[in-house]
């Protein structure tokens, strides 16, 4: 399988994601420049972190109009795997591929720190090697990661089981104290109803090597790779 990493002007975790894919995971990789429509036969498109267009106006607001996003939207509609990380999650919300929006952290400060997430779904490709209820350790780095959705959207999300990750204590308890940014229901990541579009604020690509403090993030990349291997068989 092949991963595609989208690069907008202002994206910065493109190379981090790329290096994890090629050097740690040993998978194939294409960088997809925002001006190009061709997704180059990639099987999983990553929208990485950064400040696309400087996050001016709103995070992800301008990036969503890039030519590449037209293709990504079509790709997603046909069941393609789309994975938005940090700024990528914001772009997905702006695009409407995922519901809700990400607003400024309740502390009104940027936060770069490690968090614990409780895994709520293990039946989607992105988390195929994880178990529901387990806790993973993964860093965040954002100023606007405070997930918001109106009451109706939120109850739909919960009913449909679309919350994939919640900020939790190391023991898995979902409590306000474990919430680094004020996200509603401690939401750290959600998936669309079909299960092929994932958005998450934490950075799995930053914890794919023990040298960087942990390897839980690598398990997400591996999930995608292994799930694909099975699909092909």
């Amino acid at each position: 399988m092949k991963f595609g990493v989208v690069v907008f002007p202002g994206t910065w975790s493109d190379r981090d994601c790329g290096r994890v894919v090629t050097e740690v995971l040993g998978a194939e990789l294409e960088y997809l420049w925002h001006q190009e429509k061709d997704l180059k036969d990639c099987d999983c498109i990553i929208l990485p972190g950064g400040f696309s267009y400087g996050d001016h106006l709103r995070c992800g607001a301008i990036a969503r109009f890039s030519p590449v996003m037209d293709s990504v939207v079509r790709f997603a509609a046909h069941g393609g795997l789309v994975w938005g990380i940090c700024n990528g999650f914001q772009v997905l919300c702006e695009t409407g591929l995922l519901p809700g929006a990400l607003i400024r952290n309740d502390v009104c400060e940027f936060r770069c720190q490690w968090t614990h997430l409780v895994v709520e779904r293990d039946d989607i490709l992105f988390t195929s090697t994880l178990r529901r209820g387990e806790v993973i350790k993964i860093p965040i780095s954002h100023g606007e990661g405070n997930y918001f959705a109106d009451a109706a959207t939120l109850s739909r999300l919960e009913q449909n089981n679309q919350v994939v990750f919640r900020y939790a204590q190391p023991d898995g308890h979902v409590v306000p104290a474990a919430n680094p940014n004020g996200s509603i229901h401690n939401i750290a990541g959600i998936v669309n109803r079909e299960g092929n579009v994932l958005g998450m604020m934490p950075h799995p690509e930053r914890c794919a090597e023990p040298e960087l403090g942990g390897t839980d993030g690598l398990r997400l990349f591996k999930s995608v790779l292994e799930a694909f291997a099975e699909l092909v068989v």
Binding site: P9, W12, F51, G54, R111, A208, E211
Partner: protein
Amino acid sequence: MAAKKLREVALTEAEYQTIVELLGRTPNDVELGMIGVLWSEHCSYKTSKPFLRRLPSAGSRVLQGPGENAGVVEIGEGWAVAFKIESHNHPSAIEPYEGAATGVGGILRDVAAMGARPVAILDSLRFGPLPASRHLFEGVVSGIGGYGNCVGVPTVGGEVYFEDCYADNPLVNAMCVGVVRTDQLKRARAEGDGNLLLLVGADTGRDGIHGASFASLELDDSSEQRRPAVQVGNPFLEKCLIEALQELVDHPAVVAIQDLGAAGLTSAVAEAAARGGSGALIDVDKVPRREGGMTPYEVMLSESQERMLLVVERGRQAEVMPVLEKWDLHYAVIGEVTPDGVLTVEAGGRVAARLPIEVLTEKAPVRTLRGRAPNPTRHRLDLDSIPAEPESVKGSLLRLIGHPNLASKRAVFRRYDHQVGNATVIRPGGDAAMIRVHGTRLGIAMTTDCNSRYCELDPYLGAQIAIAEAARNIVATGARPLAISDCLNFGNPDKPEIYWQLEEVISGMANACRALDLPIVSGNVSLYNDTDGRSIFPTPVIGMVGVIDDYTRRLEAGLAADGDFVLLVGASGNDLGGSRYLEIEHGLFAGRPPEVDLLGERAAQEYMLAAAGASLLHSAHDVGEGGMLVALAEACILGERGVRCPALASMGELRTDALYFGETQGRFIISAPSRSMPELQNLARRHRVEIQLLGMVGGADLEFEGDFSVTLEEMSRLYYGAFD
């Protein structure tokens, strides 16, 4: 010459006379403005230059010393590190967010101009005490983060101090570290007659006109009028600029890269031409503008951010442009390199200025002033008047680690993305930070350090300590110190005491550099940090980098495994002068800073490197402010492990307060498994270094049996909570 006009360009009547002599005519207004900024302290270093020459800058690893946009040292495997530190004190005092942000932007461009990819930022900050200085502190920290986070370069280290002397003159020094292949190193030399000058990046506006001369004046009420000297940075544009430059560094058509900083185009072109031994012709009409109606004077002096000057081989510009267009960057050919050694500025087809490059650069005046040592008795300390036994060692420890100057700066660095790039193998919070070089096992350790209180008490000694301490921070990670970039922050040198401080500090630095074999490869001077006649402490901030061949052997400060032995490396003395203990527990700022025995210092550092190199250690932490007990507490807190120590026997002349809180130099706290002990002792004998067993790792308390015990939880709460 009208005094008012001269004041506007920050030139003296005597300097004006010199200009007339050099030119053999009177300069026009554009020329006067151009000379004014380049002759300002900020650009010409006219006051500090004679001293700076004393600093050693050569070394076997040095690829580029002072004089370029950044210094460069080789680290092996075909890689080099480009780095530099710079101040943005005055703009930050006036607009803390943008002042700090554009400080980061400026230093990133300096490093990028060497062809390097910026991989780390460090910020060295000083404010007046909280809560009064909260506004500045908040603004500056947000500004550093706002810029660094957006460009995607991790901010991995720095320092934050609060002292009265910085209340009106906060210090904001930013350092950038970049990596570059040795064969892709660029230099900013405008060479090759007819080669094109390409201005890339932001459009030029009326930003910061007189910014450079502004930084060379004391702040007073009339600063108000010069206020638009503060600019708004655009980190997004900077990010695009850096990426484009990275795509262009090995392009043969790109002859040189020069960033535009203080004094804008004037300085960039003059310096690049001076280095290339050439001249330049600029047509200001070609410069893309943000605003209408700008005069040639304004265009030449504008300090608009996020601009770079490329020297491109004539006829090959078409090879470079697609990259610039890809990144949506504005650009324009604004002139060319000439053989005449003259900077000619044209506007509307007419010559607006015509100045020999050397008048702008080498011929800048040098000032020699007279220094005078202040009264030596002013900070006298009589240790005998202070009880040698702290009332409660535990109480003192808790107050020290909960004090904003000693407590964790997590409240600051968690607002900085310190992990982007997936290279940060030692994160902020310990001693030096470490960045790995992708594709190798090389690790670059980096730190900024200065205890300005020591420098105020004794500038010569304080400066040596700053260098020794920075080196210790590097060594504590297992890396070998390589080179220094320094930022000299002082008050108004026209005051004899300040001039004396400058001279003493530089002598002290030179001495320590020689003893520790550390060249200074780049740096920056910021003078006139005074308000209403009150000056800051002399603050020579030392930015240092070091290298480790294999970052998987790096060491961190926190205790790493239960059952390990904990040792103190280095002998202790009654070194309470200028200590944090005296300040916090006795309200005293007095005494002589600890002596620094540079031979002993070097021995201790070599010992540490030998022990780390032989993989004998599990952790290492340098002993700094707050002394042994604070360092030990930090090792516990950072490692989330306790330590149990037998009661410390009182040792001869050593006072109890000095034993725990004295700040004797050249010491480390290390932890090691028992099997390492014999070899550690052998090495200590060989290096003539004293080591002392303190205790054993384990439990949830820091305990000196029979004396006191304190829980990790209580220490952590105070250590991490000082800014809540």
